[in-house]
Symmetry: D2
Subunit: 423 residues, 4 copies
């Protein structure tokens, strides 16, 4: 059983577990016998509804006690508008990294950063990086660009029709802006890209979204613009969709590097060899060398940027602060760069081409999430750019810590130790 | 201010907010004045430590009351080994989708699927898809392959040295398997890939990891193999690292399609035009047409697969069941395919090349997470493949629902309605 | 020898061919013994120089007779400025595809398209597609956008310095345009993109280049702008480069889809089931189905677009018409889309996000290349957009033919037959 | 006209050239008037056929004199089997780079490398790099792996059917090998990968192809295997295709990095600071710094590897030696790496994951192409690996030269000078 075929065969035998392919295949057929009732969904979030759902479904009562204990039942209504078919609450531990000193355009000061995670060593690692950065007088950070797109698509009979439509649409940006403005006071339509593929036209509407993350805002504005287009276009589309998958929504894409989804943000710091030695037990050159090798490792594996583990810190901060954690799929990409300066210091920087963050809307007003934002002084209007800068600073801290550990050969040890005494 | 330059200029003016570039740049310089104390981190998770941390940091006491209320303070020690610098608990609402009938190799039955999210409309949308699938007798699902890699890297003086090392290492797979076995009884080293780039050698160790997600397992085994190599190799590497960024850890990569990270899994269903009409208010052909356009939209935006929003359901299920949510960055990719059959039905399928899931270890033993797994009968040993099949089934439900909504023109409406009455 | 390791081992044994690793490795060491003379290069292209080079190098005289026969020696000086160290001429056969009727914005008429290739079946396949398109009244084609970028990069001490530089540079676009205008009367600087990554700044200058392909034009203009910047910038870069690899020059990149390199062009046609049957022996639905499967096949293999074999026809036309064939690396990407219309016809389209073509400069004035352009009426000023439209039409023909063959199961047969009677 | 919309509008006005959209759109409609005769294609390559084609088409007689002069007409029959609808010959100038000393596993010695190109400065730049490498005692080079795939695809009713098929197919590798062996004595089926996506199954057959490039070989073998499968499979596919676009044929793909298309090859050299200064007028550290910046530039633009301009040299060598130049689209990708060693030397390496080369078959037997191969001693059986090593060595030379020029600030100057005195 040489080659990849051999491995696949071994896997199949493992999966079949002694049963014949036919027996296993039979298990996979649709089965219309004894179909269960599927309850009509409910957007109402109350204790009574939740309890009714537990009753109807007949699910495990032990689970119910854990997920819908007295306190949970009481505060459940606070989640109205953030969940449907509510049955209780999930809890995750919060750990604190920092304080991290950030010298940003919007964020300025020493930030205690709350992280929600269940992964051992994660908070410890980011905390270590924060220590180092703060000892160096902090990192600088800045939002480089803001934009969120919604990309409706229109199908025409032929490409010439599509062309005529494009010419018309390009003259209507001001109209589209007016239409968008009727749906939101926070969002602003700032540009419109046009992508034509045969008789398909994608209009890529770019918005600023104030301090909200803004996905719903641009969806609703996009729909209003589509309605206007359908009503007014001299060339009628055969069909159209409010979103065509061109916007990059909830997906890692290289488009992020040429445009922006959310906020493009960067952070940097200059660290003396002495500080690197003290905090990371390695040298600037060793870290530059690891960076170089890992850059190529990433390219060889077909990843979209060059970085270590943006997803770890970003997810934990998103969860703590009520961001849409599914956006990690699109936001956790970018470039880390470490290099030795002429003076022998370590220059370290991270750039994220598009992170989705907000300090109003979404989950930011829920009890623990709001508390986490308030703990940093970042809840509410006027704070979204500062939160983006904190994200960048945190990820810089994390990259320093993990690449330090890998350079020094301590990576496995840290994980072994911190996960060991789990209950 | 034409062109992209014009937009960038507008953004800069927005960011500067009337201040001069020099004033703003000055804010960004390192600042060594009044450096804050950074507490030594602590892996001990107790009420006392948490309270001490709140005291020392002098953070907002309102936040403390929310994050570390009486109940939280009491159960905090249960999170020992999953967090450091613990300060309290984060809470998210749980909603129920389903029951979803799954006819899988490992999963078999009607699953009530708990989803943790703060995004309006998410549970409702997945629930709608589950309804449809269950009405059709369920979806089939199967794990196609399992493997998790750790990819140490070794630097040599020259490529010929690297070659000699490779020839030696290839003969030692059995030794490496023995070494790996000393560190874990659940994980098994099953293959070793070799990637050479000049004088760099990447050894890609592939493991099965039992019912655990397994990242720590393969890190520790990988370190042991590295130690063995350094001790025994006839050609000494100039330097080496236990992980080289080739494994794809926590990053979307195209490598996932030619290898696997975690579990490769697929789900499919055949749906009559009648059911599509009843549940989604559209037709199989309309959904095929949207699929086609969105496939191209995705390609044009540089995404790695073809799908709608895997990240949404996957994140919510990961969070509910104690998976490492940061893995969404690598797991939420794959292929959705909708087509009309010769009989006029809708054939719908999703394939995920590598999702990271476990039913033991990580966050799976924490109170609410364990309860969510138990509610599905999927906690503990022997359940990981079934959980992977549930993931695939859920995502198939979600793709049907969202693409149905986009095809029918209902997408924006649903979001507007469900987010409207948030508190 | 299971798994990938087993295959690699087999390969190594094949390569070593019975020799020991040490013996083989020894062959690879630098060898300073008997270093050959390396002649100083020469840009002068004359018969005498060529003959002198043959003498000095002592290379095989049989080869000389073939590469520098009497006719070649005589016309060699015509290649002055297109080659260095000239030793003779290479010859490739030319075949004719078409006439292909093109209804383009710039190209209009029936084009006999010369293709230079040594691959059996290539011309025959494209010819077959042209036949079909012409029988349908031709394909439409149009250039959607034009732009060529040169992307200098500037390194600063810190990100704040980089920011100050950007703010200055954005105000200087008009100056940059003036500077660029001193170097070229054909090229025009139309926009400037800015990409910042930590303390690195990439300025992406976009030009139109008239009827030339334009790489040298934008390099020279880019250098002049860099010189201006270094002299005038209030913040001095630590170092800078006229090209930073961000422009996508000579490399396939997803950036092509969000910007354009050269000319973005599309072609389309509507083909009755009858014509599809007559010319391709298959049906519109069969071709749509193949398209769908191959779209996913491409995505799974990590390609950048969705198409069959753009590179084949594009290379052959580039070679025949004096284009830079190395640009195939960047130009041969894009989207092919086939679908069945409501009426049962086949809608077929190709879109190429960026092809590099010119009708002046480069190799377009050389004897056979110029003759090929003239044969289509496309030599000289004012013809570049028409040539781009011919490219798109040709590639549409090729995609129809190959996908037709694959759908009908005739693909292998055609290759077997046409390569069979090679001499 | 701010933003991208503004640029697009300007472009549209340029394209319309004063005409109304409707007038221009009308030009694009299918036109069935006066359809031209499309000659039946012909695979026969004779002077008579060519002349007849010129007569029938009524094309420009000046072009004919250039493309089918007396010598061309005479040697035309030699191209039988490499072209259809032959009308004459295309000529390109050949320049010589080197001699380049290569210390390879298969290539060993000083190679004068013929390059066919029409781009000024190309040969001069590669020649400069060869000079440097040879002065250093040459570069080492080795083929790391060989494999060429053909990836048929099979569609089934359902995924369980697909599974049963896979289980059957995996047991039949030996049968498939026997079937393949009936079609070729040079090619060998060495492994079979399996990719399942819903009810779609891709079988990825990997072959070694002897000294031929091998695309036709694997197509014909693949077809034979498909025929065997259709006849013998216990589960009949609904439809199937001999190639599914998964093989990466003629397209850049990231798959190349995890598998191989053709030959995976690497070359490296160690160069003293003194040699770098003498030949490139720069320093190892300056080149390392440029490399680092350009690596990120490439990543930001969404390219698939990290390199400067592999396409240039590879295309020129492919053209000179009768390779399929369209393969540049897939072959011109990989990794260049420059770094400063602890001793202050420059370590330079290139790795190409898959280049398509052969020394028999295709265009390798044509007059000038064969002469070019013979000039290097690389024509015929047993030479393909050596040719691959020469490719790698040449590209290393080219990367050194171009990155040297960019680091030293000489890039634009060289292009301006060498293209200046074109006729």
């Amino acid at each position: 059983m040489t080659g990849k075929r051999g491995l696949t065969q071994q896997h199949v035998m493992r999966i079949l577990g002694g049963e014949s392919p036919d027996v296993v295949a039979a298990r996979l057929a649709p089965d219309l016998a004894n179909l269960p009732d599927v309850p009509a969904g409910s957007a109402k979030v109350t204790r009574e509804r939740a309890e009714a759902l537990w009753e109807e479904t007949g699910l495990d009562q032990e689970s119910r006690k854990t997920l819908l204990d007295g306190a949970a039942a009481e505060e459940l209504p606070l989640y109205q508008g953030n969940i449907e078919n509510a049955i209780g609450l999930m809890k995750m531990p919060l750990g604190l990294a920092g304080p991290l000193r950030i010298n940003g355009v919007s964020a300025k000061g020493d930030y205690h950063i709350p992280l929600a995670t269940t992964e051992a060593a994660l908070v410890a690692s980011y905390h270590r990086g924060c220590r180092l950065l703060t000892a160096a007088g902090g990192c600088s950070a800045m939002v480089l660009y803001e934009s969120l797109s919604r990309a409706p698509a229109f199908v025409f009979k032929t490409a010439p029709d599509a062309c005529r439509f494009i010419i018309w649409a390009m003259e209507r940006l001001e109209d589209f802006q007016k239409v968008a403005a009727t749906t939101t006071s926070h969002g602003k339509l700032i540009d419109m890209g046009v992508t034509m593929e045969g008789n398909h036209v994608y209009l890529n509407f770019e918005f600023t979204t104030g301090d909200a993350s803004g996905q719903n805002m641009v969806t609703i504005a996009g729909q209003a613009i589509c309605d206007f287009i359908v009503e007014n276009s001299p060339v009628s589309p055969v069909r159209h969709y409010v979103e065509s998958n061109l916007s990059g929504d909830k997906k890692a894409s290289t488009k992020a590097y040429t445009t922006t989804r959310g906020k493009k943000v960067t952070a940097e710091a200059l660290l003396s060899a002495e500080l690197v030695k003290k905090h990371l037990h390695t040298t600037p050159r060793a870290m530059e060398q690891y960076w170089q090798m890992s850059a190529i490792g990433g390219v060889l594996s077909g990843t979209l940027g060059i970085h270590g583990h943006f997803a770890n810190g970003l997810t934990a901060l998103y969860l703590a602060t009520g961001q849409d954690a599914a956006c990690v799929a699109e936001s956790a990409t970018g470039v880390t760069r470490f290099e030795v300066t002429a003076e022998g210091d370590l220059y370290a920087t991270v750039t994220l081409p598009g992170i989705m963050v907000g300090t109003v809307g979404g989950g930011t007003g829920l009890p623990t999430q709001k508390a986490c934002l308030q703990l940093m002084g970042l809840h509410g209007a006027g704070k979204a750019r500062a939160l983006a800068e904190v994200c960048a600073g945190l990820l810089l801290a994390g990259e320093l810590s993990i690449i330090g550990a890998l350079s020094a050969g301590h990576f496995a040890r840290a994980h072994r130790k911190l996960a060991r005494d789990r209950k």
